[in-house]
Symmetry: C2
Subunit: 268 residues, 2 copies
């Protein structure tokens, strides 16, 4: 009897030691990071009626009087273009601005809802609760605190304005010509009532579809302090579940959004 | 005898299962993230001879004709101000621009070199190899692929220009009045030859001290594609070792730097 008891206690000690040994650095080395961010350039896509897009001005580029090489720029950008954050205050007065969103709200397990086939034949497709139900039938209920990403397949068109947003025209007249899929407002309302998510992201320019006039999905989610990530790249490289998202926006005080660097970790 | 063998095999099974069970999400829940980034506002600190700093312009803020609340801004910023990235190309022609730095170069185990006491009496202090030796005597050799952060104690002065950079004046005449500590060029050269680091960061405006004329530390490190993180906040909240850094800069194509969101994870 004594010898048996000794073996049991030894086995528990071994397990505890092994668990404590795993560091964040070691765990991350067992997988890879994928960059879901487009770069900012004169090709970066903004809303058609935005007077100016991203602009990079050279301040200096060459050899200084002191004899060493030096280069530096300044830039201009609207908050809402390219891969960017929508802070809840963008459509919900008094809710979080870009600098107020807690870091924990910007990172979590990724759930990827793939509606590529439905969107292929319909640029005005809006993701419905049925698409969520289909995902949950295969993968189980969306876990609490997930970051919900919608893969429409539109990423392959970026930055071709004609294909990605529906028109290459500029100005207010172009707004009526916007065509791209996104999230149906009814689904936004359903998510608020039935699931606990941290944020939503899309591989199109907006979390409301191109033809939206009232931006209801924005209004519904942002009123609940659920941020949006727009123009996300490389969504086709993510599994339907199992990836981990870290989304770090430029920390603009009182910002309604801003440039976002969003990355996904996939374990081996 | 048989019963003893059964217990042993069972104990190994238990251990294996426990090891595989640990996900990134679960590991991160055992610690906390600290934001090392200052926000961008009209208080953000830039080099005194930079004609313009951060500027946020309201594009719309109020109730739209359609009847819902909406707010949006555009902004201007030099690449090098506030909590920001120095891309190697900032001082080394042909080296990585902001968009070219691999994600893995921007994250790693933090090593914090605390020279607060030495800087308290000397705003022109430059961190030497002796300071590294002192750290290594207590903590062992700087691990490969570490992100080396220098804590001078200057963070407590931000954004008081007089105390943080040495002058509140603007223009070229103010450059000679810059006083703040940073990394000695001899240490930069020593690190290149003797240690393998991913990046360096400082809680002052520059990886060269305020009185530098040739920015030699920049030249030495950037020639080796080692990026710099400047104006880092909350360094006083990090342990000397054990924290993990993730630094995600705005992805500016051909950028020499840019706004940086840098965070540190500390396990419990």
């Amino acid at each position: 009897m004594k010898s048996i008891l000794l073996i049991i206690s030894f086995s528990f000690m071994t397990c505890n030691v092994k668990k404590e040994e795993i560091t964040l650095s070691q765990l991350l080395s067992k997988g890879q990071w994928i960059d879901l961010s487009y770069d900012f350039s004169d090709q970066t896509i903004y809303w058609p009626n935005n007077p100016v897009g991203f602009k990079l001005d050279t301040q200096f580029n060459g050899i200084t009087p002191a004899g060493f090489y030096y280069s530096s720029n300044a830039f201009f950008s609207p908050e809402h273009g390219g891969t960017h954050l929508d802070a809840p205050v963008h459509f919900a007065k008094g809710k979080w601005s870009s600098d107020e969103i807690p870091l924990n709200q910007l990172m979590g397990d990724a759930v990827v809802i793939d509606v590529t086939e439905k969107c292929a034949g319909n640029a005005d497709y809006q993701v419905t609760t049925d698409d969520i139900t289909a995902w949950e039938k295969r993968n189980g209920s969306i876990p609490d605190d997930a970051i919900l990403l919608f893969r429409t397949g539109w990423g392959k068109y970026y930055p071709d304005k004609e294909k990605y947003i529906g028109t290459a025209e500029k100005g207010d007249s172009a707004i009526a010509k916007l065509h791209f899929p996104s999230i149906h407002p009814d689904l936004a309302s359903w998510l608020i009532k039935n699931r606990k998510i941290k944020a939503v992201g899309v591989d199109t320019p907006s979390i409301d579809y191109g033809q939206s006039k009232d931006f209801k999905t924005h209004q519904v989610l942002y009123a609940e302090n659920i941020p949006g990530f727009e123009n996300i790249g490389n969504l086709d490289q993510l599994p339907l579940k199992g990836a981990y998202i870290i989304a770090l926006p430029m920390k603009i005080k009182d910002g309604t959004g801003g440039p976002l660097r969003i990355i996904a970790w996939i374990g081996n």
